[in-house]
Structure formats: structure tokens, C-alpha cells
Subunit: 283 residues, 2 copies
């Protein structure tokens, strides 16, 4: 069961943080059905399996933080029997799963408080957490203008524009990514999601860095929204994913190369605020 | 003849500076076939027609500067007879046409001197003047790596990548515009063309500003190449062209707007060097 989950995580093309992290947390429950002679052996098995799950995607922040938390909370509980340690594991898994499931919504609700009636927001890519924030704002009766950049190569901004076009009182405009410099000018803030934040770097969909650099030059605040579990410490090695060149150009590229990285690295000095389910971090 | 040229300029969708400016300069030669009672009346006709030509595209920098030069040089020649003033006009038109025709090549040759063997250059859009610079470099045996951003919405960077892929010793890579932040990192400089420079603003293909802002943040010099006649003083009102929405998205945009401006405005403080046929301007 755990081995299968390890393989599944390693192969998963989707980077939906919550799905992967929840799957991995629940995989550890398989150890609750086995017998162990001592608490120490149970903890070693927990650690070994958790390591395997984390290594299945070393650049997946929420997976890394939730697994580390699970192991340390079980170990620190100082359970006196194996069944007690297994019961603690079960409780902590349930709590972590609940937190991951609700983190997006709570981060979105917190971020919605930043949006005032009549504001203009610039957003890049399709972020389900930004969508939570805009949904919460809409439900509170806040009217917004939203400029959606298309997010080449996969045009995920079109999906954002289409989704937001259903919201009452929202005035939505789709523009090419390069038009950021023109349309940021009358925006109150940029709001984007995140893949993760590792020390002084925000990793997010390729194209985030130019939007952040332009926003800083225009003088528009740059707000990032996402689960607190996506903020990770050092020792975490983010690995960029190289996606298919056919997303960039379908015709044959004779005589030239095509590169298509999935993520870029934005220096945190260009970020003004990070809103998570736990807190508002000002930079 | 002049009226027809005025209409033609007003309708011209292409912004090829040299073609428009040369056409307008040559249109003034029509006044050489007419009779005028005094030099003053000839000069007034010249001024009136030149004004009409300039007004046909008030945001076309080379048209504005060449027309102003033509009128002032003929007026300042203090010709004593109408045929003498007409002869001066003919000489100045020939000189201006020659300069416009060769400006691109000379600006390109001057810019090529900035490129050293083994350099990596980031370029945006398709600029025939940048192409002149890269051609001159290739002819001098300089090997370069060139990163071409695709320049949405019309993907003119693909044309640049295809053209450069024919050059011996060139290593060409095509990337999406949003990938600038990743690929600028190992570039020696950015080199782009220009529509015009008006006081403290560079107008160029939409998407230039985010590249310039990112280059400044990464610390890569930003070099602009173009004819000196594209640098104009105050009083010149650049008008952005709004292009077809179908260039951004072909499917129906139900419930949301789509905007597609042709140019953006880059603050000159983000530009390090402007190379023209006349000079190298450092900022």
C-alpha cells in the first residue's frame, strides 16, 4: 500500500498539493494494521516509510512538511505501547488531512479580506486558492475588476477568466502575459498562488517572476496566497519540471531548440504579502 | 498624389518605419512639378502638405522626424527662386531617403560591436534591426547563443528563431515570454528593437516592458537598437494600436472582455543603451 503510493506520487503529473499530501498521509495508516515488537520499531518503520513517501517527490512542499510533521508528532508523543503509538498516528493523520483539506479555503478567506469593493486585481495562471479568495469576496458582495493574464504555454488564465465570468459583479478581462506592464498600471494589487516558498524564493508557474518584477516597477503590491504547509525551510531542493516542447510550438523546430520549464523562481524581495491559512506574512 | 499618400499612410496597418517615411518623403516631390508665383508660396505648400502627411500617423516617429527635417532644411536653405527651392527639396528628399534606407543597417552594424564571441543574447519579438546586428555579428564570425521569446499574441519570436537557426555558429532557443526570468539569468544582454523613444519612454511591441523589468531585476543589461529618427522630442503623442481580440483567443469570450494592445511603454530608466545609426546613447 505504501509502496504503491510512493510510485503513484512519483508518477503523478498533477501538482495538486492537497491531493498528493493527503494520499501520502493516509498511506501511513497502513502501519496501523501491522504488528511491531516495540514502540521504537514502529517509529523506525514510520520514519522509513515516511522518508520513501517524501523522496517520491522531493520538490513537493506540502508533502514534505506534512510528512515531517506526522513523524515528529508521533515520535514526540512518547507513546508507551505500539497500539498507543498507532492511535496517535491515526489522530495526527486525521488532523493533518483535515488541515490540508481546509487550508485552501481558509487561506482564501483570509486573502478575501484584502479585497475591497471596486478594486482591480491582476492575476496570473489558474490558482484554486486565488479562486477561493475571489469566491469569498464575491460571496461577501464585493465587486471586482480582474485582469487575467493567459499564462502561456497552457493558457490556464483563460480557465480563470471563464470561471470568474460567472461571478456576479465581476468585470473580467483576459490579456496576454506580455501586456502586464500596461494593465498593472491601474491595478490595486496582484494576487497569485504558489507552488512553494523555500527561504528567499517563491516557486510558481513559469511567468510569475516577470509579473512580479513588472508589478514592483509599476509599484503595485504583490500578494501570494496558499497553504502555510507550502512554506518550507532550507534543505528542501525544489526541482523544476521540464514539460513537453509541443506546448510551446507544435510545428517542427528545425535548427533551434525549445525549452519549456513549468516553474520559475521569484525572489521574495518582490513579494509584499503571503496569506496562508495560518497567518499573514509581510515582507 | 500627396493626398493619396496621406490616405495610404493613415490606413497602413504595417508599422514598418522605413517604408512609411520614405513614401511620405517622396510624396513631397510632387510639388516639384507645380508652378508657384513665389518661393514663400512654395514653402507654404510644402509645409501644408508635410503637415497632412505627418497627421496621417501622428504616432509614427520616423515619419514625424523626417518630415520636420525636410521642411526645415528647405526653408533654411533661403533659395532665391522657386526652381531653386524645388531643387533643394529634391536633394534633401534623396538624402533623407538614403539615410532612412541605410539607418537600419548602420544601427545594426554599430550594435554588432557589442556582441562578443560566445555571448548569450536574449531577444524579444522580431526586429529587423536586431536581425541586422546579429547578421553583422555572424558575418564577422561571432558565435552566439540566442534566446528568443515567442512574443505573444503573434508569436513573432518564432520567426526570429527560424531566421537565426540558419546562421552558422548560432545556438538558438525558443521559449515562452513568461520564461524570461529563467533564461535571462545566464544571458549577457537583452537586445530589442524599438517603435520609438519619446522623452523618458520606450514604445515597442507589447511585452517589452516585462522583459525590461525582469532584466533589470536579474541584472542583465538592456540594449535597444533602431534608427536615430525614432528618437523624438516632446509634443509627439504616441497612440497605441488596439489589435484584433482574435489574436489573443479565437473561441468566444462569453462574459469576459479581451484586450490586445500592440505596444507597451517601458520607462527609459530600465534601458541601459540605445544604439542608432548615429550614436550610442548610454542611460
Amino acid at each position: 500500500m505504501i509502496d504503491e503510493t510512493v510510485e503513484e506520487i512519483a508518477e503523478m503529473q498533477t501538482h495538486s498539493s492537497s491531493v498528493v499530501a493527503i494520499k501520502a498521509a493516509r498511506a501511513l495508516l497502513a502501519l496501523g494494521d501491522r504488528e511491531f515488537p516495540t514502540v521504537e520499531e514502529y517509529e523506525r518503520a514510520l520514519e522509513r516509510n515516511s522518508d520513501a513517501l517524501r523522496r517520491a517527490n522531493p520538490s513537493h512542499a506540502t508533502l514534505q512538511t506534512t510528512q515531517r510533521e506526522l513523524v515528529s508528532r508521533v515520535t514526540e508523543s512518547d507513546a508507551e505501547t505500539v497500539p498507543a503509538a498507532q492511535a496517535v498516528t491515526e489522530d495526527v493523520v486525521a488532523e493533518v488531512v483535515d488541515r490540508v483539506e481546509s487550508a485552501k479555503r481558509r487561506a482564501g478567506e483570509r486573502a478575501a479580506a484584502f479585497l475591497e469593493d471596486g478594486d482591480t486585481v491582476f492575476t496570473y495562471d489558474y490558482s484554486s486558492t486565488v479562486l477561493e479568495a475571489l469566491t469569498a469576496a464575491a460571496e461577501a458582495g464585493v465587486s471586482l475588476s480582474v485582469r487575467c493574464a493567459e499564462a502561456r504555454p497552457r493558457y490556464l488564465g483563460r480557465k480563470m477568466a471563464r470561471t470568474l465570468s460567472e461571478f456576479d459583479g465581476f468585470d473580467v478581462t483576459l490579456v496576454v502575459d506580455g501586456a502586464a506592464g500596461i494593465f498593472l498600471d491601474d491595478c490595486d494589487r496582484v494576487m497569485v498562488g504558489m507552488d512553494c516558498i523555500v527561504e528567499d524564493t517563491l516557486y510558481n508557474r513559469v511567468g510569475t517572476y516577470p509579473v512580479a518584477a513588472t508589478a514592483a516597477d509599476v509599484g503595485v503590491p504583490f500578494v501570494v496566497v496558499g497553504a502555510e504547509s507550502k512554506i518550507v525551510g532550507g534543505g528542501f531542493a525544489f526541482e523544476n519540471e521540464q514539460r513537453s516542447v509541443s506546448e510551446v510550438i507544435r510545428e517542427p523546430a528545425d535548427g533551434f531548440a525549445v525549452e519549456n520549464p513549468a516553474y520559475d523562481a521569484t525572489p521574495m524581495r518582490l513579494v509584499d504579502t503571503v496569506v496562508t491559512d495560518d497567518a499573514v506574512h509581510e515582507y
